[in-house]
């Protein structure tokens, strides 16, 4: 995936926000790709976890805001326990999600869940889903 970079487009405010919400230093990432290799949801992500960090390192945030990747992340922490640099990538994903959710771009609506599913889903699925995917 080719992304055009213009220095003038570096969005420092958003990068600071990501750093603030996640409390992570993404510049530690050495792009080894282990996170991508272990991620259970990666096959549906058009931007891999490794790429997410690469984009952030280059100050490019827009593709991440439009990507499915942060919403497919199940917060399973496999990437976190495997990262050789100790980067808590799930926190970075949470930060990207929060940037959208705090702008009221909810990803889940109660009305979108079929009533048959609502009847059979364990409550924790709904609580977790709404906590992660709505503001």
């Amino acid at each position: 995936m080719a992304v055009q970079m213009l220095l003038s487009e570096l969005d420092e405010t958003i990068l600071h926000k990501v750093a603030e919400i996640s409390n992570q230093n993404i510049y530690r990432c050495m792009q080894c790709g282990t996170c991508t290799a272990v991620c259970p949801m990666v096959t549906d992500m058009e931007i891999t976890p490794q790429r997410v960090v690469a984009l952030l390192q280059h100050g490019i945030v827009d593709p991440l805001m439009e990507s499915r990747t942060p919403w497919l992340c199940a917060s399973c922490l496999t990437c976190q326990v495997r990262c050789p640099r100790g980067i808590e990538l799930p926190r970075v994903m949470e930060a990207i999600r929060q940037l959208m959710l705090r702008r009221r771009h909810d990803q889940l609506s109660p009305r979108s869940i079929p009533s048959a599913s609502l009847a059979e889903l364990p409550q924790i699925a709904l609580v977790a889903g709404f906590r992660k995917l709505t503001g």
Binding site: E20, I21, S22, N23, P40, M41, D44, W71, L72, A74, S75, C76, L77, T78, Q80, V81, E88, P90, R91, M93, E94, A95, Q98, Q107, L108, I113, S117, E120, L121, P122, Q123, I124, A125, L126, V127, A128, G129, R131, K132, L133
Partner: protein
């Protein structure tokens, strides 16, 4: 040490089978726990946002309840609840600023500094009963039952709170299964996430992940799978067959149900009616539910 019990919302309704079997087993093993009064939903997922503490109030308040009850530890069953409570506890123990902020915010509650230990039922079982005593109390050895232990993510990660304290190589479920007379069968995806809340947001992708986990277990030649979370049970058990990829049926139980059966407590304490189709049938076919066996 007094032990409080935190059930969480789902165990009182859809996962009644997990709770009933667990409490009946504790009684049979003379391990006392007392359900927390006024517990609230823990929130099901641990908030990863560093700048927003409001999401920590729910789990921390439960820990305050345990402290108020005079408990030295609180035990829980649901993997999600365990994960949230344990990580909330870690936060209160390790982060002075956030601890102060949360205690100040919850000014009408007792101040909490991480006094209570959060333990998963498996660790409680190992500490209070031990595998040798458990083996001696087994009335219906689950002989010949090949069982895949499914840990998933919430019981194990981050490693600071992982059950059994064994990081990447947990054996606590296998040890339990061995003590019950069953044959634990480790399989490659036993620590992989079942999909969790993605079943609500991206069901097709989540079901595909779950189907992979089940296929991985079946590939190792197992009769059944055990787990410790209503969401895992839903994704891996009840929703078997809903994924695009077709996988032969694999009965899924809560580990407490096999524990209760092995202790001779019978199906009455297990609520198999809440399990996926075929779960009770397997145990019946193997003769484990035969009332005449248990003494």
């Amino acid at each position: 040490m007094k032990t409080s019990y935190y059930p969480g919302c789902t165990l009182k309704t859809k996962a009644r089978n997990l709770e009933d079997a667990a409490l009946a087993s504790l009684a049979a093993l003379s391990i006392e726990v007392e359900e927390l009064e006024r517990w609230n939903c823990c929130g099901a997922v641990y908030s990863l946002a560093d700048d927003d503490l409001i999401h920590q109030v729910a789990p921390v308040r439960n820990l305050v309840r345990a402290k108020d009850a005079g408990a030295g530890r609180v035990v829980t069953l649901c993997a999600q609840c365990y994960n949230v409570l344990a990580r909330g506890n870690l936060l209160m123990r390790e982060d002075e600023d956030k601890r102060r902020t949360l205690n100040m915010f919850m000014e009408e509650e007792t101040d909490y500094h991480g006094e209570v230990e959060v333990v998963h039922y498996l660790d409680l079982l190992r500490e209070e009963a031990g595998w040798d005593r458990l083996r001696r109390q087994v009335r219906v050895p689950l002989e010949g039952l090949r069982v895949a232990p499914f840990y998933g993510c919430a019981l194990l990660r981050p490693h600071e709170i992982g059950v059994g304290g064994q990081g990447n190589r947990p054996t606590i479920m296998q040890d339990l299964l061995t003590a019950l007379g069953a044959t634990p069968v480790e399989f490659p995806l036993m620590q992989e996430c079942c999909g969790a809340y993605e079943i609500v947001a991206n069901p097709a992708q989540s079901l595909e992940r779950s189907a992979r986990v089940v296929a991985s277990a079946l590939g190792c030649g197992v009769d059944a799978m055990v787990l410790s979370c209503p969401l895992c049970e839903y994704n891996l058990g009840k929703k078997q067959g809903a994924a695009a990829r077709s996988v032969p049926a694999l009965p899924v139980y809560y580990f407490t149900q096999l524990l209760a059966v092995a202790l001779g407590l019978g199906p009455a304490s297990c609520r198999f009616d809440l399990n996926m189709v075929g779960a009770r049938a397997l145990l019946e076919r193997r003769g484990f539910l035969d009332a005449s066996i248990a003494v």
